[in-house]
Assembly symmetry: C2
Homo-oligomer: 355 residues x 2
């Protein structure tokens, strides 16, 4: 299934340079191996992943990164299968990655990822990677961000990043994507309120799926409702006239898929021309840099000496001897004095009173 | 409105000891002033707040902390007004605090907080504190946690912590509460899905409000639906038989309020007897200690030298010269070498391959 392997592992050393070359040469096995590397939390692997990504940064390849969100049951897999195959038929190479925060609870990747998209997964022009196993959303985000960069370096034209609509994960995926699609099911007008405003605001195109058979009329109505809701949102500078927009699609009878792609390319071309594309990628790079700094700093708390001290102070806070705030203060005073922020004040007179 | 002040500020120094004594003596103005102190981000004020809270820890007073969540329009203010007045009539002292993450956007506290609860705010046995102005949810959580402790020390019997139902804030409020109430409006069965499972799981009592007039029948049906949904959830060890439960109330005609309080006290008594009460408070203290450690650590990033270096590296990441990960690595290597985690590996052979 992961075929196309042209270079055997020798069982001995493989250095970052040759891994980078194999990825650029489009070797699927090298790509899979590199993604496994970025998923690893082992410090040596982290360093190797960082070096690999830095090396690939200069290769100049850029995919269209499409985020796709939708609640369970809305037909995401069927849509990706149909949409992905349509792109492949147009001669494009398509990678599919998943951000599934719920895999944290189930303790493993979605077993069904490849069976869910059976035809697409058999295509030599497609690459499907399931969600990594248990990790917090922050960790999943870093891994997905790095996996996207690997897929770009490997020459994929489109990288689809799928997530289940459960709140925070959409925000993460929006920060990874150039274009964000929101897939919805036909529904009564009441359910419009079920889509949170924050998610509406990151969507570039709302796709009302299942516009076929009995549901076709409901899908058309729902689409009109969302189109109306989108018109109420403030115009974003990165949108040409008419965007964000709502459309109906049917992953089942393949209607609306080519129109979806046409709208995406219209949006991509416009944003590239107007400089919004590069501006968004730059803003995302800043965001992920800051996030990486925060995560690296917090990872320090996992060190044995700090964990031991935290455990002791946590016991004291739990027993009610000291407040949580004082316990934290004690930790820094003991182990990391340069973090301690303040001396005791002489007076509180500058505290504003609330009348 | 904030009456009951028995001690004038002299305009000169007020030390932490006398502030603590005034709070314990039940002086409302001292309580208001102390809450302003814990809301301040000035380092001297933070230290004073930490000292004050540590001093009050030993006073041994404990309130019933009730978290209350519900979407806008469900009637939270009217419920708190009716429920709070009912408690006051029973001779209890009631404090109301709000966690409103949206005040971050509107840039200020909810002006309406006191007008919304007009009668309750006039009661000498009640204390209502609006949401603090702009701050991130983490900051609001710390402030609210500390304000709750201040209200307990001031001798309030019940502390109501209100939040708008917008996802994360419920989780925060649940970590601050002994009992969590979810207030819902009567609705069709379809909207059941609109309540996220995670929120159902923290609720101790679901209250279907507006069980009056035309909506009474719908409220009864909705209540039955939620009762059914609650039965599908896994039994939690901290619940006696019959909990979590769903009930109808009407804040308008005051029905169901006394029953709600009776259910709360049943739950409180059972949890105290069984040791769950103390266990939950201890677990919460551990949670907030860890959160405080994380926030203190991240606050370090605001220091001028680090901000300057971050700004420069952020520019490099934005321009595409270096990856976000490498930029973060460079930051720590430059300013905080003890955070740097790893040396370059000789070999990747221990990287597991994904076949």
């Amino acid at each position: 299934m992961w075929g196309g392997m042209t270079k055997e592992r020798t069982g001995a050393r493989m250095d970052i340079d040759s891994l980078a070359q194999s990825i650029i040469a489009g070797e699927r096995r090298a790509l899979a191996r590199a993604i496994t590397l970025v998923e690893s939390t082992h410090p040596d692997h982290r360093q190797a992943a960082t070096d690999l990504l830095q090396k690939l940064t200069g290769c100049g390849r850029e995919a269209i990164r499409i985020g796709l969100s939708g609640t369970p049951g809305v037909g995401k897999s069927t849509f990706i299968e149909s949409f992905g195959l349509m792109l492949v038929e147009q001669g494009l190479r398509v990678a599919v990655l998943a951000v599934d925060p719920s895999s944290q609870r189930t303790g493993g990747s979605i077993l069904g990822d490849k069976t869910r998209m059976e035809q697409l997964s058999r295509s030599p022009a497609a690459f499907i990677r399931p969600s990594p196993s248990k990790s917090h959303l922050g960790g999943v985000a870093r891994r997905t961000r790095e996996a996207v960069a690997l897929c770009e370096a490997a020459g994929f034209d489109v990288v689809l990043i799928e997530t289940v609509g459960v709140g925070q994960s959409e925000t993460v995926v929006a920060e990874l994507s150039d274009i964000f699609l929101l897939l919805l099911a036909p529904a009564g007008g009441d359910e419009l309120q079920g889509v949170k405003r924050g998610i509406m605001e990151v969507a570039d195109i709302i796709l009302v799926n299942k516009a076929d058979g009995e549901l076709k009329a409901a899908a058309t109505r729902t689409c009109a409702d969302y189109a109306g809701a989108l018109r109420l949102l403030r115009r974003r500078p990165q949108d040409p006239s008419g965007f964000p927009k709502a459309m109906t699609v049917s992953a089942l009878d393949h209607s609306g898929l080519e129109q979806t792609w046409a709208e995406i390319t219209t949006l991509v071309d416009w944003r590239r021309d107007q400089g919004h594309w590069a501006a968004r990628r730059a803003a995302q790079a800043r965001h992920w840099f800051e996030e990486e700094v925060r995560q690296t700093l917090l990872a320090r708390l996992a060190q044995p000496a700090i964990r031991a001290a935290m455990s002791e102070l946590s016991d004291q806070a739990a027993s009610g001897q000291i407040t949580a705030t004082r316990a934290a203060q004690d930790l820094f005073a003991r182990l990391w004095p340069e973090i301690t922020t303040a001396a005791a004040p002489e007076s509180l007179d500058d505290t504003a009173d609330t009348p």
